[in-house]
Symmetry: C2
Subunit: 290 residues, 2 copies
Protein backbone atom coordinates (compact mmCIF):
# COMPACT_ATOMS: atom_id res chain seq x y z
CA UNK A 1 0.00 0.00 0.00
CA UNK A 2 1.68 3.27 -1.01
CA UNK A 3 1.35 6.38 1.14
CA UNK A 4 -1.15 8.12 -1.16
CA UNK A 5 -3.38 5.10 -1.11
CA UNK A 6 -2.99 4.66 2.63
CA UNK A 7 -3.96 8.29 3.28
CA UNK A 8 -7.04 8.00 1.12
CA UNK A 9 -8.25 4.79 2.71
CA UNK A 10 -7.42 5.94 6.24
CA UNK A 11 -9.53 9.07 5.76
CA UNK A 12 -12.41 6.82 4.71
CA UNK A 13 -11.96 4.90 7.96
CA UNK A 14 -11.07 1.56 6.39
CA UNK A 15 -10.06 -0.82 9.20
CA UNK A 16 -7.20 -2.41 7.25
CA UNK A 17 -5.68 0.97 6.43
CA UNK A 18 -6.05 2.02 10.05
CA UNK A 19 -4.37 -1.19 11.22
CA UNK A 20 -1.49 -0.61 8.80
CA UNK A 21 -1.08 3.02 9.90
CA UNK A 22 -1.03 1.97 13.56
CA UNK A 23 1.70 -0.57 12.82
CA UNK A 24 3.83 2.17 11.23
CA UNK A 25 3.41 4.27 14.35
CA UNK A 26 4.03 1.37 16.72
CA UNK A 27 7.26 0.50 14.93
CA UNK A 28 8.36 4.17 14.99
CA UNK A 29 8.73 3.97 11.21
CA UNK A 30 9.93 7.09 9.33
CA UNK A 31 6.86 6.80 7.11
CA UNK A 32 4.65 7.32 10.16
CA UNK A 33 5.79 10.93 10.41
CA UNK A 34 5.03 11.65 6.78
CA UNK A 35 1.65 9.99 7.12
CA UNK A 36 0.78 11.96 10.24
CA UNK A 37 1.87 15.25 8.66
CA UNK A 38 -0.49 14.53 5.78
CA UNK A 39 -3.56 13.57 7.78
CA UNK A 40 -3.31 15.16 11.22
CA UNK A 41 -5.48 18.14 10.30
CA UNK A 42 -8.28 15.97 8.86
CA UNK A 43 -9.96 14.91 12.02
CA UNK A 44 -12.41 15.87 14.70
CA UNK A 45 -11.63 15.55 18.40
CA UNK A 46 -12.92 12.26 19.75
CA UNK A 47 -13.78 11.76 23.38
CA UNK A 48 -10.75 9.89 24.72
CA UNK A 49 -11.57 7.91 27.84
CA UNK A 50 -8.58 6.52 29.72
CA UNK A 51 -9.16 3.46 31.89
CA UNK A 52 -6.40 2.47 34.24
CA UNK A 53 -5.99 0.37 37.36
CA UNK A 54 -4.28 -2.74 38.71
CA UNK A 55 -4.55 -6.21 37.20
CA UNK A 56 -7.54 -8.25 38.28
CA UNK A 57 -10.09 -5.49 38.72
CA UNK A 58 -11.96 -6.34 35.53
CA UNK A 59 -10.68 -3.43 33.45
CA UNK A 60 -11.01 -5.24 30.14
CA UNK A 61 -14.55 -6.41 30.93
CA UNK A 62 -15.50 -2.87 31.86
CA UNK A 63 -13.86 -1.48 28.71
CA UNK A 64 -15.81 -4.03 26.69
CA UNK A 65 -19.09 -3.09 28.37
CA UNK A 66 -18.51 0.63 27.80
CA UNK A 67 -17.66 -0.02 24.15
CA UNK A 68 -20.99 -1.80 23.73
CA UNK A 69 -22.90 1.03 25.39
CA UNK A 70 -21.17 3.57 23.16
CA UNK A 71 -22.12 1.53 20.10
CA UNK A 72 -25.74 1.45 21.22
CA UNK A 73 -25.59 5.24 21.30
CA UNK A 74 -24.24 5.31 17.75
CA UNK A 75 -20.73 6.36 18.61
CA UNK A 76 -17.87 5.28 16.33
CA UNK A 77 -15.87 3.33 18.84
CA UNK A 78 -12.23 2.30 19.14
CA UNK A 79 -10.44 0.49 21.94
CA UNK A 80 -6.68 1.04 22.28
CA UNK A 81 -5.10 -1.20 24.91
CA UNK A 82 -1.65 -0.10 25.97
CA UNK A 83 0.40 -2.99 27.05
CA UNK A 84 2.97 -2.24 29.72
CA UNK A 85 6.48 -3.00 28.57
CA UNK A 86 5.89 -5.99 30.66
CA UNK A 87 9.11 -7.81 30.20
CA UNK A 88 7.72 -10.54 32.40
CA UNK A 89 3.97 -10.71 32.37
CA UNK A 90 1.01 -9.29 30.61
CA UNK A 91 2.43 -8.77 27.15
CA UNK A 92 1.34 -11.91 25.44
CA UNK A 93 -1.49 -12.35 27.91
CA UNK A 94 -3.15 -9.30 26.47
CA UNK A 95 -2.57 -10.47 22.94
CA UNK A 96 -3.53 -14.07 23.57
CA UNK A 97 -6.53 -13.88 25.77
CA UNK A 98 -9.95 -14.00 24.26
CA UNK A 99 -10.52 -10.45 25.35
CA UNK A 100 -13.15 -7.93 24.49
CA UNK A 101 -15.48 -10.74 23.57
CA UNK A 102 -18.59 -8.97 22.51
CA UNK A 103 -16.89 -5.77 21.40
CA UNK A 104 -14.35 -7.64 19.30
CA UNK A 105 -17.13 -9.44 17.47
CA UNK A 106 -18.79 -6.15 16.59
CA UNK A 107 -17.27 -5.04 13.26
CA UNK A 108 -18.01 -1.45 14.17
CA UNK A 109 -15.71 -1.49 17.18
CA UNK A 110 -12.05 -1.21 16.24
CA UNK A 111 -9.84 -2.98 18.80
CA UNK A 112 -6.08 -2.73 18.94
CA UNK A 113 -3.42 -3.46 21.51
CA UNK A 114 0.00 -1.84 21.39
CA UNK A 115 3.16 -3.03 23.06
CA UNK A 116 6.17 -0.93 23.88
CA UNK A 117 8.93 -3.33 22.93
CA UNK A 118 11.42 -1.65 25.17
CA UNK A 119 11.86 1.43 22.99
CA UNK A 120 12.98 4.16 25.34
CA UNK A 121 10.37 6.91 25.25
CA UNK A 122 8.53 4.92 22.63
CA UNK A 123 5.35 4.02 24.43
CA UNK A 124 3.85 7.41 25.04
CA UNK A 125 4.86 8.88 21.68
CA UNK A 126 3.38 5.91 19.83
CA UNK A 127 0.22 5.98 21.93
CA UNK A 128 -0.39 9.69 21.26
CA UNK A 129 0.07 9.20 17.52
CA UNK A 130 -2.20 6.14 17.56
CA UNK A 131 -4.95 8.24 19.16
CA UNK A 132 -4.55 10.87 16.44
CA UNK A 133 -4.81 8.16 13.76
CA UNK A 134 -7.99 6.77 15.32
CA UNK A 135 -9.48 10.27 15.13
CA UNK A 136 -8.36 10.62 11.52
CA UNK A 137 -10.18 7.36 10.76
CA UNK A 138 -13.35 8.92 12.14
CA UNK A 139 -13.58 7.33 15.59
CA UNK A 140 -15.35 9.63 18.01
CA UNK A 141 -15.28 7.57 21.21
CA UNK A 142 -11.93 6.05 22.13
CA UNK A 143 -11.37 3.81 25.12
CA UNK A 144 -7.71 3.89 26.08
CA UNK A 145 -6.90 1.04 28.45
CA UNK A 146 -3.60 1.12 30.33
CA UNK A 147 -2.20 -0.92 33.17
CA UNK A 148 -1.02 1.53 35.77
CA UNK A 149 2.25 -0.10 36.62
CA UNK A 150 4.75 2.43 35.32
CA UNK A 151 5.30 6.05 34.70
CA UNK A 152 4.69 5.76 31.01
CA UNK A 153 1.24 4.40 31.64
CA UNK A 154 0.50 7.33 33.94
CA UNK A 155 1.73 9.68 31.20
CA UNK A 156 -0.51 8.01 28.63
CA UNK A 157 -3.50 8.03 30.98
CA UNK A 158 -2.92 11.74 31.58
CA UNK A 159 -3.39 12.45 27.87
CA UNK A 160 -7.02 11.25 27.96
CA UNK A 161 -9.92 13.69 28.13
CA UNK A 162 -11.50 11.72 30.96
CA UNK A 163 -9.48 9.38 33.15
CA UNK A 164 -11.24 6.55 34.94
CA UNK A 165 -9.35 4.69 37.68
CA UNK A 166 -10.78 1.19 38.15
CA UNK A 167 -10.44 -0.64 41.47
CA UNK A 168 -12.09 -3.74 42.95
CA UNK A 169 -12.50 -5.10 46.48
CA UNK A 170 -10.21 -7.80 47.78
CA UNK A 171 -6.95 -6.82 46.12
CA UNK A 172 -5.10 -5.41 49.11
CA UNK A 173 -4.78 -1.80 50.06
CA UNK A 174 -5.63 -0.01 46.87
CA UNK A 175 -5.64 3.33 48.55
CA UNK A 176 -1.95 3.34 47.97
CA UNK A 177 -3.17 4.74 44.71
CA UNK A 178 -3.88 8.02 46.40
CA UNK A 179 -0.20 8.35 47.29
CA UNK A 180 0.88 8.32 43.68
CA UNK A 181 0.12 10.52 40.72
CA UNK A 182 -2.70 8.48 39.27
CA UNK A 183 -5.45 9.53 41.67
CA UNK A 184 -4.64 13.16 40.99
CA UNK A 185 -5.33 12.72 37.29
CA UNK A 186 -8.48 10.62 37.82
CA UNK A 187 -11.69 12.27 36.65
CA UNK A 188 -13.71 9.58 38.38
CA UNK A 189 -13.19 6.29 40.15
CA UNK A 190 -14.97 2.98 39.60
CA UNK A 191 -15.26 0.20 42.15
CA UNK A 192 -15.93 -2.80 39.92
CA UNK A 193 -17.01 -6.27 41.11
CA UNK A 194 -19.28 -4.30 43.42
CA UNK A 195 -21.22 -7.42 44.46
CA UNK A 196 -18.17 -8.58 46.40
CA UNK A 197 -17.55 -8.07 50.11
CA UNK A 198 -15.75 -4.86 50.83
CA UNK A 199 -17.02 -2.91 47.83
CA UNK A 200 -18.92 -0.36 49.91
CA UNK A 201 -16.04 0.14 52.31
CA UNK A 202 -13.61 0.60 49.42
CA UNK A 203 -15.90 3.11 47.72
CA UNK A 204 -16.23 5.11 50.95
CA UNK A 205 -12.49 5.06 51.54
CA UNK A 206 -11.75 6.29 48.03
CA UNK A 207 -14.35 9.01 48.34
CA UNK A 208 -12.92 10.13 51.69
CA UNK A 209 -9.27 9.97 50.62
CA UNK A 210 -9.74 11.88 47.40
CA UNK A 211 -11.65 14.84 48.81
CA UNK A 212 -14.91 13.65 47.38
CA UNK A 213 -13.93 12.41 43.93
CA UNK A 214 -16.97 10.75 42.26
CA UNK A 215 -17.02 6.98 42.84
CA UNK A 216 -19.19 4.62 40.79
CA UNK A 217 -19.97 1.02 41.68
CA UNK A 218 -20.27 -1.42 38.81
CA UNK A 219 -20.40 -5.09 38.01
CA UNK A 220 -19.21 -5.02 34.43
CA UNK A 221 -19.75 -8.77 33.93
CA UNK A 222 -23.43 -8.55 34.86
CA UNK A 223 -23.91 -5.12 33.34
CA UNK A 224 -24.79 -3.40 36.63
CA UNK A 225 -24.18 0.30 37.14
CA UNK A 226 -22.89 0.96 33.64
CA UNK A 227 -25.39 3.56 32.42
CA UNK A 228 -24.74 6.04 35.23
CA UNK A 229 -21.00 5.59 34.72
CA UNK A 230 -21.30 6.13 30.99
CA UNK A 231 -23.30 9.32 31.48
CA UNK A 232 -20.79 10.57 34.04
CA UNK A 233 -17.97 9.94 31.57
CA UNK A 234 -19.76 11.99 28.92
CA UNK A 235 -20.24 14.77 31.45
CA UNK A 236 -16.71 14.72 32.84
CA UNK A 237 -14.85 15.80 29.73
CA UNK A 238 -12.15 18.20 30.82
CA UNK A 239 -9.57 20.19 28.95
CA UNK A 240 -8.14 18.35 26.00
CA UNK A 241 -4.55 17.33 26.74
CA UNK A 242 -3.58 15.11 23.81
CA UNK A 243 -2.00 17.78 21.61
CA UNK A 244 0.25 19.07 24.39
CA UNK A 245 1.41 15.54 25.24
CA UNK A 246 2.10 14.83 21.58
CA UNK A 247 4.02 18.06 21.01
CA UNK A 248 6.15 17.36 24.04
CA UNK A 249 6.98 13.87 22.81
CA UNK A 250 7.77 15.06 19.25
CA UNK A 251 10.05 17.76 20.64
CA UNK A 252 12.12 15.18 22.50
CA UNK A 253 12.42 12.99 19.41
CA UNK A 254 13.49 15.88 17.20
CA UNK A 255 16.16 17.13 19.60
CA UNK A 256 17.81 13.72 19.57
CA UNK A 257 17.64 13.47 15.78
CA UNK A 258 19.26 16.87 15.29
CA UNK A 259 22.35 16.11 17.29
CA UNK A 260 25.06 14.65 15.10
CA UNK A 261 26.62 11.41 16.33
CA UNK A 262 30.04 13.07 16.48
CA UNK A 263 28.78 16.01 18.58
CA UNK A 264 27.11 13.53 20.91
CA UNK A 265 30.28 11.46 21.22
CA UNK A 266 32.38 14.56 21.91
CA UNK A 267 30.02 15.74 24.64
CA UNK A 268 29.96 12.29 26.18
CA UNK A 269 33.72 12.04 26.09
CA UNK A 270 34.15 15.38 27.87
CA UNK A 271 31.60 14.31 30.46
CA UNK A 272 33.43 11.04 31.06
CA UNK A 273 36.70 12.97 31.46
CA UNK A 274 34.87 15.11 34.03
CA UNK A 275 35.96 18.25 32.18
CA UNK A 276 32.38 19.46 31.79
CA UNK A 277 29.17 19.08 33.81
CA UNK A 278 26.27 17.31 32.10
CA UNK A 279 24.36 20.62 32.24
CA UNK A 280 27.11 22.43 30.33
CA UNK A 281 27.47 19.49 27.93
CA UNK A 282 23.75 19.58 27.19
CA UNK A 283 23.94 23.35 26.73
CA UNK A 284 26.70 23.00 24.19
CA UNK A 285 24.76 20.35 22.27
CA UNK A 286 21.72 22.62 22.06
CA UNK A 287 23.82 25.48 20.72
CA UNK A 288 24.97 23.29 17.87
CA UNK A 289 21.49 22.23 16.83
CA UNK A 290 20.71 23.12 13.26
Amino acid sequence: MDLENLVERLLKGEPRALARALTLVENRSPEARELLSRVFADRKDALIVGLTGPSGVGKSTLTDALAKLARERDRRVAVLAIDPTSPFTGGALLGDRARMDSAARDPDVFVRSMATRGHVGGLSGAAFEALVLLEVAGKDFILLETVGAGQDEVEVAAAADVTVVVLAPGLGDQLQASKAGIMEIASLVVVNKADRDGADVLAEQVHAHTDGKPVFKTNALKGDGLEPLFDAILGARGERRLMEAWLSSVLQQIVRERISPSAWEDALQRLKERSVTPYDAADALLKELK
Copy 2:
Protein backbone atom coordinates in the same frame (compact mmCIF):
# COMPACT_ATOMS: atom_id res chain seq x y z
CA MET B 1 22.64 22.27 56.08
CA ASP B 2 23.97 24.80 53.57
CA LEU B 3 25.35 23.71 50.22
CA GLU B 4 28.99 24.20 51.16
CA ASN B 5 28.58 22.08 54.23
CA LEU B 6 26.60 19.44 52.33
CA VAL B 7 29.30 19.18 49.65
CA GLU B 8 32.02 18.77 52.24
CA ARG B 9 30.20 16.10 54.20
CA LEU B 10 29.02 14.27 51.09
CA LEU B 11 32.59 13.99 49.84
CA LYS B 12 33.50 12.43 53.19
CA GLY B 13 30.74 9.88 52.64
CA GLU B 14 28.62 10.84 55.65
CA PRO B 15 25.36 8.87 55.48
CA ARG B 16 23.18 11.78 56.63
CA ALA B 17 24.62 14.11 54.00
CA LEU B 18 24.15 11.42 51.36
CA ALA B 19 20.53 10.90 52.44
CA ARG B 20 19.91 14.65 52.24
CA ALA B 21 21.51 14.90 48.79
CA LEU B 22 19.41 11.99 47.53
CA THR B 23 16.25 13.70 48.77
CA LEU B 24 17.16 16.84 46.81
CA VAL B 25 17.57 14.72 43.68
CA GLU B 26 14.41 12.71 44.29
CA ASN B 27 12.36 15.90 44.69
CA ARG B 28 13.93 17.38 41.53
CA SER B 29 15.00 20.35 43.60
CA PRO B 30 16.89 23.19 41.87
CA GLU B 31 19.62 22.84 44.49
CA ALA B 32 20.26 19.31 43.27
CA ARG B 33 21.69 20.66 40.03
CA GLU B 34 24.05 23.03 41.79
CA LEU B 35 25.15 20.26 44.13
CA LEU B 36 25.78 17.84 41.28
CA SER B 37 27.74 20.44 39.29
CA ARG B 38 29.96 20.92 42.31
CA VAL B 39 30.65 17.27 43.09
CA PHE B 40 30.17 15.24 39.93
CA ALA B 41 33.88 15.21 39.06
CA ASP B 42 34.94 14.04 42.53
CA ARG B 43 34.16 10.37 42.24
CA LYS B 44 35.40 7.07 40.99
CA ASP B 45 33.27 4.75 38.89
CA ALA B 46 31.54 2.19 41.07
CA LEU B 47 30.39 -1.16 39.75
CA ILE B 48 26.67 -0.64 39.24
CA VAL B 49 24.77 -3.92 39.29
CA GLY B 50 21.16 -3.73 38.14
CA LEU B 51 18.77 -6.39 39.42
CA THR B 52 15.39 -6.60 37.79
CA GLY B 53 12.60 -9.12 37.44
CA PRO B 54 8.96 -9.75 38.33
CA SER B 55 7.53 -9.59 41.84
CA GLY B 56 7.81 -12.73 43.90
CA VAL B 57 11.11 -14.05 42.58
CA GLY B 58 13.03 -13.04 45.70
CA LYS B 59 14.81 -10.05 44.21
CA SER B 60 15.17 -8.22 47.52
CA THR B 61 16.48 -11.31 49.28
CA LEU B 62 19.02 -11.82 46.53
CA THR B 63 20.01 -8.14 46.62
CA ASP B 64 20.47 -8.45 50.36
CA ALA B 65 22.62 -11.56 50.00
CA LEU B 66 24.81 -9.93 47.34
CA ALA B 67 25.22 -6.83 49.52
CA LYS B 68 26.49 -9.06 52.35
CA LEU B 69 28.93 -10.85 50.07
CA ALA B 70 30.24 -7.54 48.76
CA ARG B 71 30.75 -6.32 52.33
CA GLU B 72 32.69 -9.47 53.16
CA ARG B 73 34.96 -8.59 50.26
CA ASP B 74 35.47 -5.09 51.66
CA ARG B 75 33.48 -3.23 49.06
CA ARG B 76 31.73 0.01 50.02
CA VAL B 77 28.18 -1.02 49.30
CA ALA B 78 24.97 0.84 48.50
CA VAL B 79 21.55 -0.50 47.60
CA LEU B 80 19.26 1.75 45.57
CA ALA B 81 15.77 0.30 45.16
CA ILE B 82 13.73 1.95 42.45
CA ASP B 83 10.11 1.81 43.20
CA PRO B 84 7.85 1.58 40.20
CA THR B 85 5.42 4.50 40.07
CA SER B 86 3.14 1.88 41.37
CA PRO B 87 -0.03 3.86 41.69
CA PHE B 88 -1.67 0.72 43.00
CA THR B 89 0.76 -1.67 44.58
CA GLY B 90 4.31 -1.91 45.65
CA GLY B 91 5.02 1.67 46.61
CA ALA B 92 4.44 1.56 50.30
CA LEU B 93 5.11 -2.17 50.36
CA LEU B 94 8.70 -1.44 49.53
CA GLY B 95 8.91 1.32 52.10
CA ASP B 96 7.05 -0.51 54.82
CA ARG B 97 8.32 -3.99 54.64
CA ALA B 98 11.13 -5.09 56.85
CA ARG B 99 13.34 -5.47 53.83
CA MET B 100 17.04 -6.02 53.46
CA ASP B 101 17.18 -7.41 56.96
CA SER B 102 20.78 -8.21 57.41
CA ALA B 103 22.11 -5.60 55.01
CA ALA B 104 20.04 -2.83 56.58
CA ARG B 105 21.44 -3.65 59.99
CA ASP B 106 24.98 -3.33 58.67
CA PRO B 107 25.95 0.33 59.13
CA ASP B 108 28.39 0.01 56.25
CA VAL B 109 25.67 -0.76 53.72
CA PHE B 110 23.75 2.32 52.63
CA VAL B 111 20.16 1.42 51.66
CA ARG B 112 17.73 3.77 49.96
CA SER B 113 14.49 3.37 48.06
CA MET B 114 13.25 5.99 45.62
CA ALA B 115 9.74 6.49 44.37
CA THR B 116 8.74 8.25 41.21
CA ARG B 117 5.71 10.16 42.47
CA GLY B 118 4.25 10.45 39.03
CA HIS B 119 6.74 13.03 37.80
CA VAL B 120 6.81 12.63 34.05
CA GLY B 121 10.32 11.64 33.04
CA GLY B 122 11.34 11.99 36.66
CA LEU B 123 12.24 8.44 37.55
CA SER B 124 15.15 7.80 35.29
CA GLY B 125 16.70 11.25 35.67
CA ALA B 126 16.51 11.02 39.45
CA ALA B 127 17.89 7.47 39.45
CA PHE B 128 20.92 8.43 37.33
CA GLU B 129 21.72 11.37 39.57
CA ALA B 130 21.28 9.22 42.68
CA LEU B 131 23.85 6.78 41.29
CA VAL B 132 26.30 9.62 40.71
CA LEU B 133 25.79 10.84 44.30
CA LEU B 134 26.44 7.35 45.68
CA GLU B 135 29.74 7.33 43.77
CA VAL B 136 30.57 10.81 45.08
CA ALA B 137 30.02 9.48 48.61
CA GLY B 138 32.59 6.79 47.91
CA LYS B 139 30.44 3.74 47.28
CA ASP B 140 32.17 1.34 44.91
CA PHE B 141 29.59 -1.45 44.64
CA ILE B 142 26.02 -0.34 43.96
CA LEU B 143 23.08 -2.72 43.74
CA LEU B 144 20.29 -1.08 41.75
CA GLU B 145 17.04 -2.96 42.23
CA THR B 146 14.15 -2.24 39.87
CA VAL B 147 10.83 -3.92 39.25
CA GLY B 148 10.59 -4.51 35.56
CA ALA B 149 7.03 -3.45 35.05
CA GLY B 150 7.42 -0.34 32.95
CA GLN B 151 9.58 1.29 30.39
CA ASP B 152 11.23 3.57 32.88
CA GLU B 153 12.45 0.62 34.86
CA VAL B 154 13.94 -0.90 31.72
CA GLU B 155 15.66 2.43 31.02
CA VAL B 156 17.10 2.52 34.54
CA ALA B 157 18.21 -1.11 34.38
CA ALA B 158 19.94 -0.36 31.08
CA ALA B 159 22.14 2.25 32.78
CA ALA B 160 23.78 -0.38 35.02
CA ASP B 161 27.22 -1.79 34.22
CA VAL B 162 25.94 -5.32 34.72
CA THR B 163 22.27 -6.19 34.46
CA VAL B 164 20.96 -9.28 36.23
CA VAL B 165 17.48 -10.53 35.37
CA VAL B 166 16.03 -12.57 38.24
CA LEU B 167 13.38 -15.22 37.62
CA ALA B 168 11.95 -18.07 39.71
CA PRO B 169 10.01 -21.25 38.93
CA GLY B 170 6.25 -21.35 39.29
CA LEU B 171 5.32 -17.84 38.26
CA GLY B 172 3.80 -18.54 34.85
CA ASP B 173 5.49 -18.24 31.53
CA GLN B 174 8.44 -16.03 32.31
CA LEU B 175 9.93 -16.52 28.92
CA GLN B 176 7.67 -13.74 27.82
CA ALA B 177 10.62 -11.80 29.06
CA SER B 178 12.54 -12.75 25.97
CA LYS B 179 9.93 -10.99 23.84
CA ALA B 180 10.58 -7.64 25.44
CA GLY B 181 13.63 -5.46 25.73
CA ILE B 182 14.78 -6.64 29.11
CA MET B 183 16.39 -9.91 28.07
CA GLU B 184 18.41 -8.06 25.46
CA ILE B 185 20.00 -5.87 28.11
CA ALA B 186 20.58 -8.74 30.57
CA SER B 187 24.23 -9.53 31.22
CA LEU B 188 23.23 -12.71 33.01
CA VAL B 189 20.12 -14.43 34.27
CA VAL B 190 19.42 -15.89 37.71
CA VAL B 191 16.88 -18.60 38.46
CA ASN B 192 16.28 -18.04 42.16
CA LYS B 193 14.35 -20.39 44.48
CA ALA B 194 16.23 -23.08 42.62
CA ASP B 195 15.14 -25.79 45.08
CA ARG B 196 11.62 -25.57 43.70
CA ASP B 197 10.11 -27.78 41.03
CA GLY B 198 10.68 -26.47 37.55
CA ALA B 199 13.92 -24.60 38.28
CA ASP B 200 16.01 -26.78 35.96
CA VAL B 201 13.47 -26.61 33.16
CA LEU B 202 13.24 -22.83 33.49
CA ALA B 203 17.03 -22.47 33.47
CA GLU B 204 17.28 -24.61 30.33
CA GLN B 205 14.52 -22.67 28.60
CA VAL B 206 16.15 -19.34 29.37
CA HIS B 207 19.50 -20.61 28.16
CA ALA B 208 17.96 -21.90 24.92
CA HIS B 209 15.81 -18.84 24.25
CA THR B 210 18.57 -16.32 24.80
CA ASP B 211 21.18 -17.90 22.55
CA GLY B 212 23.17 -19.19 25.47
CA LYS B 213 23.08 -16.32 27.94
CA PRO B 214 24.70 -17.38 31.25
CA VAL B 215 22.11 -18.70 33.73
CA PHE B 216 22.84 -19.08 37.46
CA LYS B 217 20.73 -21.06 39.91
CA THR B 218 20.50 -19.66 43.43
CA ASN B 219 18.55 -19.98 46.63
CA ALA B 220 19.17 -16.56 48.11
CA LEU B 221 17.34 -17.37 51.36
CA LYS B 222 19.60 -20.36 52.11
CA GLY B 223 22.68 -18.77 50.59
CA ASP B 224 23.09 -21.38 47.83
CA GLY B 225 24.85 -20.52 44.58
CA LEU B 226 25.74 -16.97 45.56
CA GLU B 227 29.53 -17.06 45.27
CA PRO B 228 29.60 -18.18 41.61
CA LEU B 229 26.99 -15.54 40.81
CA PHE B 230 28.96 -12.84 42.59
CA ASP B 231 32.15 -13.75 40.72
CA ALA B 232 30.28 -13.77 37.42
CA ILE B 233 28.93 -10.30 38.18
CA LEU B 234 32.44 -9.01 38.82
CA GLY B 235 33.56 -10.55 35.53
CA ALA B 236 30.62 -9.37 33.46
CA ARG B 237 31.26 -5.65 33.65
CA GLY B 238 30.54 -4.19 30.25
CA GLU B 239 30.79 -0.71 28.82
CA ARG B 240 29.78 1.96 31.28
CA ARG B 241 26.45 3.46 30.24
CA LEU B 242 25.52 5.73 33.12
CA MET B 243 26.98 8.97 31.74
CA GLU B 244 25.22 8.62 28.42
CA ALA B 245 21.88 7.93 30.11
CA TRP B 246 22.38 10.92 32.39
CA LEU B 247 23.35 13.28 29.57
CA SER B 248 20.30 12.23 27.60
CA SER B 249 18.01 12.89 30.55
CA VAL B 250 19.60 16.27 31.33
CA LEU B 251 19.24 17.30 27.69
CA GLN B 252 15.50 16.66 27.79
CA GLN B 253 15.09 18.63 31.00
CA ILE B 254 17.05 21.60 29.66
CA VAL B 255 15.12 21.79 26.41
CA ARG B 256 11.85 22.10 28.29
CA GLU B 257 13.28 24.74 30.63
CA ARG B 258 14.52 26.89 27.76
CA ILE B 259 11.19 27.18 26.04
CA SER B 260 9.28 30.20 27.31
CA PRO B 261 5.70 29.52 28.44
CA SER B 262 4.39 31.95 25.82
CA ALA B 263 6.29 30.28 22.95
CA TRP B 264 4.96 26.93 24.14
CA GLU B 265 1.39 28.23 24.30
CA ASP B 266 1.68 29.75 20.83
CA ALA B 267 2.96 26.50 19.34
CA LEU B 268 0.24 24.52 21.06
CA GLN B 269 -2.43 26.92 19.87
CA ARG B 270 -1.28 26.62 16.25
CA LEU B 271 -1.23 22.86 16.59
CA LYS B 272 -4.77 22.83 17.98
CA GLU B 273 -5.91 25.03 15.09
CA ARG B 274 -4.30 22.45 12.77
CA SER B 275 -2.34 25.23 11.07
CA VAL B 276 1.00 23.53 11.75
CA THR B 277 2.13 19.92 12.15
CA PRO B 278 3.63 18.93 15.50
CA TYR B 279 6.95 18.38 13.70
CA ASP B 280 6.98 21.95 12.38
CA ALA B 281 5.80 23.29 15.73
CA ALA B 282 8.65 21.49 17.49
CA ASP B 283 11.09 22.81 14.88
CA ALA B 284 9.96 26.36 15.49
CA LEU B 285 10.34 25.95 19.25
CA LEU B 286 13.90 24.70 18.83
CA LYS B 287 14.80 27.68 16.66
CA GLU B 288 13.71 30.03 19.42
CA LEU B 289 15.80 28.35 22.10
CA LYS B 290 18.25 30.70 23.71
